[in-house]
Symmetry: C2
Subunit: 177 residues, 2 copies
């Protein structure tokens, strides 16, 4: 079945953590926010764990706390780091890398949008260009019309993008500490 998916209203993290309701719920929110962007639950959980932690947290603690595997944790952390949602805060004493949430989650969101949407729009643009070059046969004028419609959508999609990222800039920062 094809359907627009929603997460169910009850707690999403209870299987993973059994700590204070408050912490639990804040992490729940993180999972929801991630899933809105189409990111897997584990990424939401990992981000939540870093976000919620009062001090930089290391991978080992995260995967123990969330009861998820070493591999998932590692990959999730890498993804979040590349995105700019968390950052490493050095190898406090021992060899364990410690993570904390970035102050500017907004940058991560912008990053995400740029990485995900921009290339898609670009490819669509290229596809349209290729199409333009084809001299349409006589029976294809209807298609040519449709192509024009798609072109307009593409143009306006490109326009919308900076508006959204621009709006993000006006948002208050999601700060830690």
């Amino acid at each position: 079945m094809i359907a627009i998916k929603h997460l169910n209203p009850q707690s999403l993290v209870s299987k993973n953590i059994e700590t204070s309701t408050m912490e639990n719920s804040v992490m729940d929110l993180c999972v929801r926010l991630c899933s809105l962007l189409g990111l897997p639950k584990s990424v939401g959980l990992i981000y939540g764990a870093v976000f919620v932690s009062p001090k930089p947290i290391e991978a080992g603690q995260i995967c123990k706390k969330l009861k998820i595997s070493r591999g998932s944790t590692s990959q999730g952390l890498r993804f979040l780091k590349e995105l700019g949602a968390i950052r490493s805060s050095g190898l406090n004493g021992n060899r364990a890398e410690h993570f904390e949430a970035e102050e500017h989650l907004r940058l991560a969101l912008e990053n995400f949008i740029l990485k995900k949407i921009s290339p898609a729009l670009k490819e669509i643009g290229q596809e349209i260009e290729k199409l333009e070059k084809i001299t349409p046969g006589l029976d294809q004028h209807v298609l040519a019309e449709k192509l024009d419609a798609l072109k307009r959508w593409h143009k306006h999609g490109k326009l919308l993008l900076p508006i959204v990222t621009g709006f993000l800039k006006t948002m208050p920062l999601l700060t830690r500490k």
Copy 2:
């Protein structure tokens, strides 16, 4: 591996249709647009087939043309109809339902955004409300701070939504015929 997914640059529909390059490419674009919204390929193909067709097309033709099953076709058409991306144009003569693309694809997009994002924001809002009611213990003031940050994000998310849908209203229509 977790990664931001992109469709590969070469044709996405060649396995499904072997008609004119132009038609093929327009459908390709439809698939890309759908996948940007996280919809399955079949939905993109089906929408493409309806969009590209110079006259209302029936389900049977679609599933023959795309070489996909009756079930997928039926479900995809229902989904697109509910979304307002296509509409039924009566049972021309025989019992077969005929479909054509909606003029106002913009409405479908708004619909999609509203159905997908609004409920999520609402649930996040409820979750935050619930959290507010919890009197935080002494050791939880750090969490309370983080909750504030999330609250601000939620507020601004709600603000962004009408701006995006508002922007959609300024777009030229994606017209058929």
